[in-house]
């Protein structure tokens, strides 16, 4: 699938801002065999005082901005052309869950894709006993690790209600789980917590999702979204698999990857705050158009 991808984020401020630094992770990733980027541009308006780029530990392209003070509005516009290969249904080569620990012990190295990064608690995903209990019950009887991933994802999808008003960007996962509602970020971080409690290394993936219109209706501009899902390690042969608990499916051609990390704090689209005296309003829109 070849897409024209655009993301537009706008802020308006009541009062002029102070100086600020931000790091953006909003560009689609080049992932051999999965996703190919032929062009990607990020425009910032007004122009930043300084702009640098680096690749973070997990391989994600990060854009660092120093913004001047005195802004009353701010825009980030990303446009890209990206090809997402549909890998189709995969054969389940994963080990049974009890065998996963041995596979993991055989993995050495601490490169960006090493499963070892994704088993320990991370800043936004502490151990939550209620989630661990839920996960253990949900995967009972699953013959393989991949089946367990799917079972937990489907169980969460049945249990949690998607509600953009229910949680904030920094709602802790235990609170979101207790309320049984949230957005893709909450679904994904709760699922990561559950997988880790089972001994399955799990990462948080940030990206974009194409939203298909209901049959017979035209596609609405800007209806696509920034999205998050889960990447789980299913053993030496099974490798990594991407699962989207918000939609109860393995990630496919509609999912465009930006990058992954231990949780939202590693992969957030924008990190860093502006110094504000007054209120701000913001909006963002995503278009993922097949070409």
């Amino acid at each position: 699938m070849r897409y024209h991808l655009s993301l537009s984020i706008r802020y308006a401020f009541d009062r002029p801002t102070g100086m600020a630094r931000q790091v953006l992770r909003i560009c689609p990733a080049d992932l051999p065999g999965v996703q190919q980027v032929s062009s990607c541009r990020v425009m910032v308006l007004p122009a930043p005082a300084a702009r640098r780029e680096f690749t973070d530990f997990f391989g994600t392209r990060a854009i660092e901005l120093a913004l001047p003070g005195g802004l009353t509005e701010l825009r980030f516009d990303m446009t890209a052309e990206v090809t997402r290969l549909d890998t189709g249904p995969e054969a389940d080569l994963s080990v049974p869950l009890p065998g996963l620990a041995a596979d993991l012990a055989a993995e050495t190295g601490l490169g960006p894709m090493s499963p070892h990064h994704f088993l320990a608690p991370s800043p936004r995903i502490p151990p939550v006993p209620e989630i661990a209990q839920f996960a253990a019950a949900a995967v009972a009887g699953a013959p393989t690790t991949r089946a367990a991933v799917r079972a937990l994802g489907e169980a969460l999808h049945r249990t949690l209600r998607f509600d953009p008003q229910a949680t904030e960007v920094d709602t802790p996962i235990d609170a979101a789980f207790a309320g049984r509602q949230g957005v893709c970020q909450d679904f994904s971080q709760i699922m990561v917590a559950g997988l880790r409690s089972l001994g399955i290394p799990a990462a948080y993936v940030s990206g974009f999702l194409r939203t298909l219109p209901p049959p017979g209706q035209p596609r609405r501009v800007g209806a696509d979204a920034m999205h998050a899902w889960v990447r789980a390690w299913t053993g030496a042969s099974g490798g990594w698999c991407d699962y989207d608990p918000t939609n109860a499916c393995f990630a496919g051609a509609d999912h465009v990857v930006i990058g992954h990390g231990r949780d939202y704090s590693d992969a957030a689209p924008i990190i860093g705050m502006l110094r504000l005296d007054g209120a701000q309003t913001s909006s963002h829109s995503v278009d993922l158009v097949e070409i």
Partner: protein, 801 residues
């Protein structure tokens, strides 16, 4: 020697002197006394010295040390339920003595260990070969919150990750020294060690001078030179990054900054511009090239490290990536303190340093390894279980997550090891040697650990020849922690030969170079300005209160109309004049203290003690002084103390920019006070006697008498207190001073081009200088006051951001 523990009951007779009557604990090695009960030769002179002191002489020796600590303002912060307080420094007066030969072996072993930590750090933040080759378990690194992924691949500009490390040592039952913990994050205690040295040498000055005790100053000088040598631009200053005044060891940060001549900065004082870390100063942003970090790594950058940090500098990691900054130690060095790593260091040493460990560390088993786990299960008796990724010594502030493995039923232990093995570490329960400590006038054996500091210099690692000893409050090792009543002691490394008498003073024939002062950090300027204002505000209040209480004492209720006339001035400052020492006055003093506390590094210890003493006296007086004569006398005493502080500042403080801000603050506040006092008390409608009150407030009674030789009238008072440039208490004199000092501030007067602030002051000056007593009406005085007030805002906007 008696075998009974001597400190359990009070002596029936006069306490024994020196080490007579001192008995080590059965089966526990003692630093001073050999197992056969004889005093070790090294300790003989100290024992003799102590034995020769009559109880009164000993008491005064200890008092000398305590007085020194008190005068230098050394404290530590103790945390209680929801609050923290500054506590006097708990010094255990008897030093711990170490033989030169013992010391040489310790030094050699610790230099090797510092090399080992550097090599480990370079691998963990570089190629990560140790994990890849299976020599370190991945879980200890990948699951470690102190292993900071953003730092992986960022090579240190200086070529080294570690520059200042410390090791906790204890002597085991076999008489050998062991490493109990590695400190590589941001070790504290070196400054305290130096304070302990000065205090202890005051207590035992004769003994100290006659023994060949290694001096500590050379170590600090070498490290200072090493840090300064890391700069590429000689104009920049080395900065010490502190979490701030509420940190447990802030005193030490300020102390070291002052001692070595470094800037003391907080995260918010700095910014990153074009990849370069810069300090906000009164002369604009200035590059920082060398930062000695006393802040835990993860707090250092809220963008790339802990996003919840409120005390970091956004972009700091980016500045490190750009390579324009040397960080001491590199961010992420806290990972080296991980307890479970001690299980692996002995095996890694030969490979990473070319030799087996020269000093063993605490026997440690990481329970994620099946063999280690089985060993713990098989012989749990003397093992402490704690979290594998915890740092520090296992008996130091033990948490609820720590227990003796032997206390668990075998089945429970097996279950725990199976369930959370990789998260657990087992370490041998520590036994420590004891050292003599004075408790209620008698020497008793107390457990001791020693923190030894190792710094990287141009000549390689150097070890501070001494250390920071911690002495337990009770005979068990758990009582070492200062938060739990433990104390600290000096460590004397005694050489058989004379030692070099190094100090920070440069060698005689080195060329004299006057260091340029460097730009003043904006936050320091802000605090100095306000310190000046609060001290002056206090003085103004005290003068006015004293004048009123004197009237009250002289005329009783007949003074009421006059006091009524002064009421608006009290209202302006928010104080209740009915009290002898009003709460508003104490509050202002507290503000002065807290401003001074934030610039401890720029404030002389004498000035600090004087200010602290002033506050203490005022609080004491507030409790017992009665309005009237009693209050007037108390207030006079406070005025004398204030005069002392002014003297210390005016006579002793070098005329750097910092002094300038302090002075501007004082002049500004005095000008505000005078304008208000004259507007109220020299108003044509003011009560009888108000003019005299004004003269007294302006401390100009004698001058008025001499200059006018007649009763006060509005014109004489206005002339003397508002217009006379030669009266140091006049409004005009303050404005003259403000104009002069503000003109000398950075960017105020660029070859005649005046900054907006300098313009404001110049206009104010011209307006005041062209007044006469008739034209300077009450209304004008109020208008002047509000224009003076505006200067404060302009200074803030121009220099404190």
């Amino acid at each position: 020697m008696s075998a009974a523990a001597p400190d359990d009951h009070a002596p029936l007779t006069a306490p024994p002197r020196g080490l007579s009557g001192y008995a080590p604990l059965p089966g526990v090695p003692d630093e001073a006394v050999a197992p056969d009960g004889t005093i070790r030769p090294l300790w003989a002179r100290l024992a003799g010295h102590l034995a020769g002191l009559a109880p009164d002489d000993l008491a005064s020796a200890l008092a000398r040390a305590d007085q020194y600590l008190n005068d230098s303002g050394v404290f530590y912060r103790q945390y209680g339920a929801g609050s923290s307080t500054e506590r006097p420094w708990p010094l255990s007066h008897v030093p711990v003595l170490l033989e030169q030969s013992d010391w040489d072996a310790i030094s050699e072993a610790l230099v090797q260990r510092a090399d080992l930590l550097e090599a480990l750090m370079a691998d963990l933040y570089g190629p990560n070969r140790l994990v890849a080759s299976g020599r370190l378990p991945p879980a200890l690194v990948a699951g470690n919150p102190e292993w900071l992924r953003p730092m992986v691949g960022i090579a240190p500009r200086s070529g080294h990750y570690l520059h200042f490390v410390a090791f906790e040592l204890g002597r085991g039952p076999d008489g050998k020294w062991w490493v109990l913990a590695d400190r590589a994050q941001a070790p504290s205690g070196a400054g305290y060690a130096l304070e302990n040295r000065v205090a202890t040498s005051r207590a035992f000055s004769g003994l100290y001078a006659s023994q060949h005790v290694h001096r500590l100053a050379g170590f600090f000088r070498d490290f200072r030179d090493a840090l300064m040598g890391q700069r590429q631009d000689g104009e920049t200053r080395v900065s010490i990054l502190t979490p701030g005044p509420l940190n447990e060891t802030y005193f030490e940060h300020a102390w070291i900054a002052r001692y070595l001549g470094f800037n003391l900065v907080q995260g918010e004082d700095m910014m990153v511009e074009q990849g370069q870390l810069k300090l906000r100063t009164v002369a604009g942003p200035r590059p920082v090239e060398v930062l000695w970090r006393r802040l835990d790594s993860s707090y250092a950058d809220p963008i790339e490290l802990d996003q919840n940090s409120r005390i970091g500098t956004p972009g700091l990691v980016s500045a490190l990536r750009a390579g324009g900054l040397s960080m001491v130690n590199a961010l992420g060095s806290g990972v080296l303190e991980t307890r479970a790593l001690m299980a692996f260091l002995p095996q890694l040493a030969p490979d990473l340093t070319g030799a087996p460990l020269k000093m063993p560390n605490l026997a440690t088993w990481w329970c994620g390894d099946p063999l280690a786990s089985a060993a713990v299960q098989a012989a749990p008796e003397r093992l402490i279980l704690s979290p594998a990724l915890a740092t520090g010594m296992p008996f130091d502030l033990p948490g609820a997550d720590q227990c003796r493995a032997g206390d668990l039923a075998p089945a429970d232990l097996a279950q725990r090891l199976a369930a959370e093995g990789a998260g657990l570490v087992a370490q041998e329960a520590v036994t420590l040697s004891t050292t003599p400590a004075l408790v209620d006038g008698r020497l008793v054996p107390r457990p001791v650990t020693i923190r030894v500091f190792v710094a990287r210099t141009a000549r390689g690692w150097v070890v501070m020849p001494g250390g920071f000893a911690r002495i337990g409050a009770r005979p068990d090792p758990e009582a070492i922690a200062m938060q739990r009543g433990g104390s600290s002691a000096d460590v004397w490394v005694v050489s058989p030969e004379p030692v070099s008498q190094t100090s920070m003073i440069p060698v005689a024939n080195a060329p004299l170079r006057r260091a340029t002062p460097g730009a003043l950090p904006a936050r320091a300027a802000d605090n100095l300005f306000w310190l000046g204002r609060y001290v002056e505000r206090t003085e103004g209040m005290v003068r006015l209160l004293r004048a009123c209480h004197m009237r009250l004492a002289e005329s009783g209720s007949a003074a009421a109309p006059l006091l009524e006339a002064a009421a608006p001035l009290f209202t302006l400052q928010g104080i209740e004049p009915d009290e002898a020492i009003p709460q508003g006055l104490l509050d202002t003093l507290s503000l002065a203290i807290s401003s001074a506390g934030r610039v401890r590094d720029r404030f002389s210890p004498d000035a600090w003690s004087a200010l602290a003493d002033l506050e203490k006296s005022a609080r004491r007086m507030a409790l017992r002084s009665q309005p009237g004569d009693d209050a007037a006398r108390a207030l006079s005493a406070l005025l004398r103390k204030l005069a002392g502080i002014s003297g210390l500042i005016h006579e002793n403080m070098y005329r750097f920019t910092g002094w300038r801000f302090l002075t501007i603050g004082r002049q500004h506040e005095r000008a505000m006070g005078l304008a208000a006092a004259l507007a109220v008390l020299a108003d044509p409608g003011a009560a009888e006697g108000a003019l005299d009150l004004a003269i007294e407030y302006g401390d100009s009674v004698m001058t008025h008498r001499r200059r006018f030789a007649l009763a006060a009238s509005r014109p004489t008072v206005i002339d003397l207190l508002a217009l006379d440039p030669l009266n140091p208490r006049s409004l005009r004199h303050q404005i003259d001073g403000l104009r002069e000092e503000i003109d000398l501030l950075p960017a105020a007067n660029d070859h005649g081009a005046l900054s907006p602030l300098a313009c404001t002051v110049l206009r104010l000056h011209a307006d005041l200088a062209t007044q006469d007593p008739a034209t300077l009406t009450t209304r004008r005085l109020w208008a002047l006051r509000s224009r003076i007030g505006h200067i404060s805002d302009q200074i803030t906007a121009a220099y404190f951001h």
